[in-house]
């Protein structure tokens, strides 16, 4: 008898599987896109991650790209767990390394539509260098950055996106570091598509992700998202709903705004919209061209 046949199921997760069946798995039209035995997820009540993940799934469904030709790559953190829930090829990598992994994956198999789905700390603190270089290379994949302004999974520490003077567990008297303006970083590094939405702008976000899925090159979408547990409590937004109302009241849509002018320093206004949508040859296109010239020179096919 082979090991495969003789092996007993040993994972306690199978208990969870039974529970989800009872709770009505399979009734929702997007359930096919989720790994049913991985539901329920670990995200807190009021968290915005479910909204962003379902926007991604809706966009993917609308795009018509076959599920088995898509890949979701994530780093570490609450957002990083998204890769574990989707029913497609998914990769949960080391902290900050989702982008270089995705670079290899996409170049390794260019037929697969690849999306990096990760958080602000993962992508812009530990992974910041990889982000700017992938944008510069214009490798053909999408980055969805769920920005909840803190490190949620480790309990609400300051991130490179945490606004000045906000209290977190590592800035107990208020932060004093200038946060990143993410669209500006992305546009400055060379991203061909840059947008910002919030979890309040579900329709626009879904449409934006769909656009990015179809667009060649390095596309970046920042999604502002509530984190009542780690961030909201100390920032005066105790429930997820408070943050959503804040997004509703303070957001202003301004397509084509200069990314340098959309920083979140001004607490009275959040500028959202599609800021950059331009064409530039992708890494793959440019490389094909140069390599072809080299082959012509060498006289090989």
């Amino acid at each position: 008898m082979s090991i495969r046949q003789s092996r007993n199921w040993f994972s306690p997760d199978y208990m969870v599987h039974k529970k989800t069946r009872k709770s009505g798995y399979g009734l929702h039209p997007l359930d096919d896109y989720l790994k049913k035995d991985r539901i329920p997820h670990i995200w807190c009540p009021g968290c915005g991650l479910g909204v962003v993940l379902s926007a991604y799934i809706r966009a993917l469904k609308a795009s018509g790209i076959p599920q088995d030709k898509t890949a979701l790559v994530s780093g570490i953190g609450c957002t990083g767990r998204a890769a574990g829930y989707v029913n497609m090829d998914s990769f949960h990598m080391t902290h900050g390394r989702a982008i270089p992994f995705a670079t290899g994956l996409k170049i390794g198999n260019p037929d697969v539509v690849t999306t990096v789905f990760s958080g602000d700390g993962d992508l812009f603190s530990i992974g910041g260098n990889h982000f700017i270089h992938a944008a510069r290379r214009n490798v053909d994949f999408n980055v969805i950055c769920v920005n909840n302004f803190n490190y949620g999974m480790t309990g609400g520490q300051a991130a490179p996106t945490t606004p000045m003077e906000v209290r977190t567990s590592t800035t107990p008297y208020g932060g004093f570091e200038q946060p990143f303006n993410l669209p500006s970083v992305a546009a400055g590094a060379g991203a061909v598509y840059v947008a910002r939405w919030t979890t309040y702008h579900v329709e626009q976000l879904t449409k934006g992700i769909e656009e990015a899925l179809h667009k060649d090159g390095f596309c970046f979408i920042e999604v502002l998202s509530p984190c009542p547990t780690g961030y909201g409590r100390k920032a005066g937004q105790k429930a997820g709903k408070d943050t959503m109302l804040y997004y509703r009241d303070k957001s202003r849509i301004e397509h084509g705004a200069n990314p340098n002018d959309v920083s979140l320093d001004d607490k009275d206004e959040i500028i959202v919209g599609k800021f950059v949508d331009r064409h530039a040859p992708t890494f793959q296109e440019k490389r094909r061209e140069v390599f072809q010239k080299a082959r012509d020179m060498m006289g090989v096919k």
């Binding site: 495969r4 790994k35 088995d68 030709k69 890949a71 992994f101 170049i107 390794g108 390599f291 080299a294």
Partner: protein, 385 residues
Amino acid sequence: MGVKKEGTYFMGGNIACAEGAIMAGCSFFAGYPITPATEILERIANRFPELHGSYLQMEDELASMASIIGASWGGRKAMTATSGPGFSLMMENYGLALMTETPCVIVNVMRGGPSTGLPTMVAQGDVMQTRWGTHGDVGVIVLSPASPQEMFDLTIEAFNLSEKYRLPVILLSDEMVSHMTEKVVIPKKEDITIINRKKPECTPEEYLPYCPDEDLVPPMACVGEGYSIHVTGLTHDERGYPSIDEKVQNMLVTRLLDKVRNNAHDIIRYQEHMVEDADIIILAYGSASRSAREAVDMARKKGIKAGLIRPITIWPFPEDRISELAERAQAFVVAEINFGQMVYEVERCCRGCCPTYLIPRMGGSIHTPEEILDRIEKISKGGGQ
């Protein structure tokens, strides 16, 4: 530019390594310039356009390592090459590759350390780093070439072992071997054995990405093949799903270690030179083994029964053979270009049967045969310390 067919060449170690990779079917290379490994990157960059391969110069070694793991899951044979400072950065995702059982090859051309150390000069100080450098318990395969010919042969071997056992394999060269130019024979392509990873034969519904076969290696589905795989660096069960259960940790890590331990007989390679009747056995690897071999021949001429064992796989260590030899040898002498790393492994395997001596060297140059001979002579007269 280019070696395209079989023949005999006068070739540098790093060039032979790049040619070996190409011969093994490597079609993705990511690297970052670093002395003394840069020639591998340069050679690949020159050769890949005609071969339709993908070469990427990454922003750092963290990214190089992460991207070859990505490319491997994209279905490619992938490699990177570096030296000590870059190798330290790669430790993070080396662990990821071990945990996710990703076949790939890492070349580490050792130079003097610690830190920036001696960029252009030889050392063998990374031996234990290859074994224990990444956190957690790991089973690893590390090969040690001692000539440009072996840079070619063992690069192919490294790919084969990585594909067969689904893990990152390290080719642990040193500056001397990498920058040495010697005769390299490239055999006919059809005479070279190439091993490719096992693919699943079942349907996606039946497929369990981390359920192993008898050899403890699970078949590997890659991205875009319709198997809806989930790959994580977290402790995972047979479905690839994360788990925070002690039992799952136990099953997984035990298998990852056993994969190498139980297959050690298939993995371990070493070369012996006149050990059958030897009283004093020298153990050396890489460039140090070349001086040691010369010293053995010189000792024999003086009537001292010396012999040489050269581990080609450093890890797993050929411990059974060392234990066997220790029972009848008078002494083991380890010549390595560090202040004592493998000597402790030899000492452990000797189990007190015979004394173990170290001929250390700090790096910057290799031992001279005379220096090793001198020590052999002293030991043979009963005064080794």
